[in-house]
Amino acid sequence: MGEGRGMTTTKQKTTKRLVSALAAALALFAFTERAEAQQILLTGPLAGAPAVRKLRWHRKGRFEVAPAISFTLLDEYQRTILMGARLNYNFTDWLSFGAWGAFGAIKIPTHLSEQIQEVNASRRQFDPTSMYRQRQLTAVNLGPDFEKQLGSMDWVVAPQLTAVPFRGKLALFQSIYLDTDLYFFGGPAFVGVTERKNCEECIDSFEMASRVAIAPTFGLGFTFYINKWSALGFEWRGLPFSWNTSGFDTAGGGKDKKFPDNKITNDDRQFNFNQMLTVSYNIYLPFQYKVSE
């Protein structure tokens, strides 16, 4: 008993010490914060002056029309080149609202898809009509032409908000000087996707179906201003959503639905962190920019 009481007392003391130390630490933090928050009263001609004078407002009050070409990255089965444009209105030099839209103009199967189709074709050449033993195990997954069952991104429309926190300039070889900015954007995206149609009896059923996937989109980009009214843009965009890129039956069966079930269902849509790089030529309207004081 006595020992237990003693232990309790020691614990209480320790707790008290801990609480005191914590309170003291918090007090110190609070004190430091207050000290750091003190405003330095600048006097003289630079008091209240902006960090940059005569700043060329390339964006403020201007529309941005930017034809753009986007290249998807890290695709497993098919690369897509999207042609489109970005349209923004810049309320201020650091905030704009607009949309990016593009359609999947060129679709290029990856080397993996070519390899799969090569093997698939060689299996089928034995007997293209009957279910030959060599392709029994892949009958649900591989149609006559694997490249035609691949999921594709047909179009994208993404209303987006763009923030431009960083403005600057760049000296190239000490002879070419460019105004630049670094921007971040984000918003919802509506993606037109074509992928293998859901089926219960999926052997020899390789029809495709289209749907609209809604996904977040975000990214960052650099703008290099060539003159008063145009610029080159480079941006990276993330567009994560789940879709069936291969047309394979990969899930839906077993306890956790992570085993094939010989059906094509929504469970076969795998989460993909779709990424793309975009190159754009930006045109700003009106052609003349404003300059800060």
Binding site: V52, N120, R167, G168, L172
Partner: protein, 340 residues
């Protein structure tokens, strides 16, 4: 002798009087350019008695940002921009009319300044004869089958301000990740893709810095950056991951000649510490696992356990790595060759 203290006092008074008149904006009268700047820029309504001195300091600060500041104007105007209406000046004019300044301030203010303003003035951080120690974490960008994250270390020495020679190294071995996607493809299509894992990489590199600049963040603070290209030659230790016949095949790491080329961006937090973002492609000739396997057991000449039967075709492989890291320049300080 008795009048000498009074003379000294008058001399001192004359000496300090012009300084006071520069800083004070006269109500209803003409004001100096410095006075105007102070009056318009100081939102608190504080007028600094040492405005001309501040302006000079301010001009340095502003010039460092590459923009002509009001301080420049103030500094120039302050030298000859006094208005001939103050009582002190009237006294001077009375004593010596020839020495009385007679300037049209509007005309002087409109006079174009011919000061040379550089588009980008003094590089913020000089690199010449400094070591750069880089440490960071890399992530492979182009391999959808096996990801190859790695810590990365580099040491560069800048022979000139734009050219450096250096070494770098990576240690991939514990971090290779065979993705689930590979197993799914094997299961669904009965097609196996040869996979490769990396152990380490090292290279001798040259770095060239063709571009530098600065950014204003949120219109409030300014940071400097430079962009570089890097290329070199070195080695990578790699081996296939057995997927075709894992029961018999157990590959040893082999060292391959590897070339690399890349671009990078350095953002300076101060003159010796920077964040680094780099994308570099390491190219090497990879020997892939054979897609066929021997049905003959044992280590005989064509046996499944004979390593000579394990390798298939060779393939030029790109290992594109994106690195995020930090750079420290040593020595920490440096001197500019010219004052500006």
């Amino acid at each position: 002798m008795k009048s000498s203290p009074i003379g000294l006092l008058v001399a001192v008074a004359l000496g300090i009087f012009p300084a006071q008149s520069w800083a004070q904006a006269k109500a209803g009268g003409k004001v100096t350019v410095a006075g105007k700047a102070a009056a318009t820029k100081d939102s608190e309504g504080v007028i600094d008695a040492d405005a001309s001195g501040s302006a000079a300091a301010g001009s340095d600060a502003a010039a460092a940002e590459g923009a002509p500041a009001a301080g420049d104007t103030a500094g120039e105007a302050g030298e000859e921009g006094e208005t001939p209406t103050g009582s002190g000046l009237e006294d001077i004019c009375k004593i010596d009319p020839a020495a009385c300044p007679n300037l049209d301030m509007d005309k002087e203010a409109a006079r174009p300044l011919k000061e040379q303003i550089f588009a980008v003035q003094q590089a913020y951080a000089l690199r010449v004869r400094r070591f750069e120690l880089q440490a960071g974490w890399s992530q492979s960008l182009n391999d959808q089958f096996v990801s190859h994250p790695t810590p990365n270390l580099a040491l560069n020495y800048y022979i000139t301000n734009v050219l450096a020679i250096g070494i770098n190294g990576q240690y991939y071995a514990p971090f290779n990740l065979d993705k689930d996607f590979n197993a799914q493809v094997r299961r669904a299509a009965r097609v196996a893709v040869p996979l490769t894992e990396y152990q380490w990489g090292a290279a001798l590199n040259f770095t060239y810095v063709p571009a530098y600049g600065k950014f204003a963040g949120f219109g409030d603070f300014i940071f400097h950056y430079d962009a570089y290209v890097v290329g070199g030659v070195g080695a990578m230790s790699v081996r296939p991951i057995p997927v075709i016949d894992p029961d018999n095949r157990n590959f040893e790491y082999q060292t391959k000649l590897a070339f690399n080329a890349g671009i990078g961006l350095r953002i300076f937090f101060n003159r010796w510490f920077a964040a680094v973002l780099e994308v570099r492609d390491y190219v090497f000739n990879d020997k892939l696992e054979s897609l066929t396997y021997s049905r003959i057991p044992g280590p005989g000449p064509n046996g499944a356990a004979n390593p000579n039967t394990w390798y298939g075709e060779t393939s030029l492989t790109n290992n594109v790595q994106a690195q995020l890291g930090a750079a420290i320049f040593i020595p920490f300080s440096f001197n500019y060759r010219l004052p500006k």
